[in-house]
């Protein structure tokens, strides 16, 4: 991602701090409003920066979406080694572990995640952003793909194709943040038990077939 930004030096400690400030400020603001309701100025002030200073660390408001994605994926990526270690080489446990890790991050920034996840759809239609996005999401998606592939090879999972299963599994996790909350906003642990149970085949008491 370094090259998509105007950081004087990608390893610049100041730039890192500022980008973190901006990320956290954006999350706080986006907890209350949509991406288009939130103004750049508002986010800048929330980050203790002057209106124009955002542009020292971001090329455009749109790039803030990349910053959100990047920051969240990084938080997940840092947890991955521990998750793998704890899975005891069982890809089913590894898959659930990654999903749980994703759910944790998503939950941490719930509203901001929902915003980012939606807006990214439009970003991804423009080649210049799509490439950047794929790079950013790579660690997350390839971790899921790895567990799924091994699960199938070992005969422990059954599904049609890897990329679409990656997407379905991601939807299960992001569903947590995407729900409109029109009925109840379930608490995270209940949601987690529910999707884990689905995967473990405990939802239907006996295996009814689809019509």
């Amino acid at each position: 991602m370094a090259e998509a930004l105007r950081l004087p030096n990608p390893d610049d400690a100041l730039a890192k701090t500022r980008r973190r400030q901006i990320f956290l400020a954006a999350c706080r603001v986006l907890a209350r409003k949509s991406f288009h309701q939130a103004t750049v100025k508002e986010i800048a002030l929330e980050a203790n920066l002057a209106a124009g200073s955002i542009y020292l660390y971001l090329r455009s408001k749109e790039e803030m979406l990349l910053l959100l994605a990047e920051s969240m994926v990084t938080e997940l990526a840092e947890a991955l080694p521990g998750i793998r270690a704890a899975s005891g080489a069982d890809p089913r446990r590894e898959l659930l572990g990654i999903m749980r890790g994703a759910l944790d991050v998503i939950d941490r920034y719930r509203e901001a995640f929902a915003v980012m996840n939606h807006e990214v759809r439009y970003l991804a239609r423009r080649p210049k952003y799509r490439a950047a996005l794929e790079l950013i999401l790579e660690p997350y998606f390839s971790a899921l793909a790895g567990a799924l592939k091994r699960g199938r090879e070992l005969g422990l999972m059954r599904f049609e194709n890897v990329p679409s299963m990656v997407e379905a599994v991601h939807m299960l996790c992001s569903g947590w943040a995407m729900g409109t909350g029109l009925l109840v906003k379930t608490d995270r642990e209940t949601y987690w038990r529910e999707i884990a149970a689905l995967l473990e085949g405990r939802f239907f008491v006996d295996g009814a077939k689809s019509p």
Copy 2:
């Protein structure tokens, strides 16, 4: 919903026609752009109306989101009696039937559904819209709730609480439209088999327990 709109007469045939035109035009435009990228004028022209004429049938741009929700739920509601009849009183078959019906509508207007589903989140935070929304979604959510309640009463389903399960099930359906398609855009039938299989407990080959 009648009262949320300025229809000269809610049953006015012309108003109905115009609102249908607008709904379809909005779906076409929103297939290409986000809610904020799409302008009222653009949608009006797509509906063969002049820019200002939209406001004869809609009080504001935001109310167009209600129109989208209302039109989509109505299409599903019309299919519900047939779905119930075909389920042979088995709530598991009924649940899958409703989900299949929802998926069909969602797929029909895929992009516009994603837009509406996201934006509605912000609408729901304003009391004046929240009430209207609950009314609009009632037929869909109460059909799901009905099947789930009966399923649990008959000991055919196992889950914690109804409203949160309604939401989870809805997420499974809407997931189809919400996926960003960054990896692959799975075709609808594959997606359907995948979520049906989850519900039927065929995903994990043997019942591994969550960590």
Copy 3:
């Protein structure tokens, strides 16, 4: 030029009126400030329009430069038939006539002309504008070229090549507006006599040769 603008209909009488209003307002504002000191809002208000209304008749502030050029050339072009008629087929008289006509228009909008003439230099570097500009200036430049060509063919003028002579002659006219006025701002008639005299060879009392 019609196609470079967003006129609903290029012959639209309202659009023509508005564009004329904007042209005159711009000339008034640019009499006092440079192009970059003058704001779109200021010009709009001067034209009795709201700030945003300018954009119903102009795609961008830059396009206002095209409007200036177009309006001025049109005023000159309307005088051309009369000038030709009055020249009695003498290309020298025709050349002086066109130059006098140009000087009249330039003088009428002196400051705005200077602005336009300068800024057009940067516009002309962008292909999309260059083509439009060439089209706009065509009537003026081709009138000059015509008189020069005939003058040379008839042995009444002596110079190296047509396009560069067109430019030199234009510079002589535009010089009137471009002078910075640091010393005196000569009055127009004096300036005219001076350049006419140059052309008529009356400047140097006897024909001294250049070093």
Copy 4:
């Protein structure tokens, strides 16, 4: 000019070097962009200075225009003694010599000259800058005025008043840089021959009178 700048010491050798660096950098940048498209930072970097360091040698961006004028006039002024010597006391030869010298400088910095010449118009409207400008241009304008005055006194030139003739003659020279190049960009030597010929009365083959 010394007082218009914040040189720690007007004769400071470092300040002189830096101002020369800035002048040359500005000329390079202004060869590609207009004054308002060129940023202070860009020019500073081109001069191998940090963004803020420009302000150690210039009070404002506008003062850069004075620097441009001053540097160019100085280059011409240094050539004046040689030009006078070569003119053999013939004011016609002297006038052409000064014009040729001006054309040489103008050509050397063509684009930057055009920028400066245009922007200076707005500077000259503010008393604080007008005085500085007159001081800067004095050597150039008074050399022209001198040759013209003597030319008229000796009966070798015929024109109405000195200051306006100075301006007309300057326009002839600056015309070289000001031409928009919409048709052809004549080469300098051709341009020179053309204006020299005008002055020498060789343009019209026989002396037609203006209408």
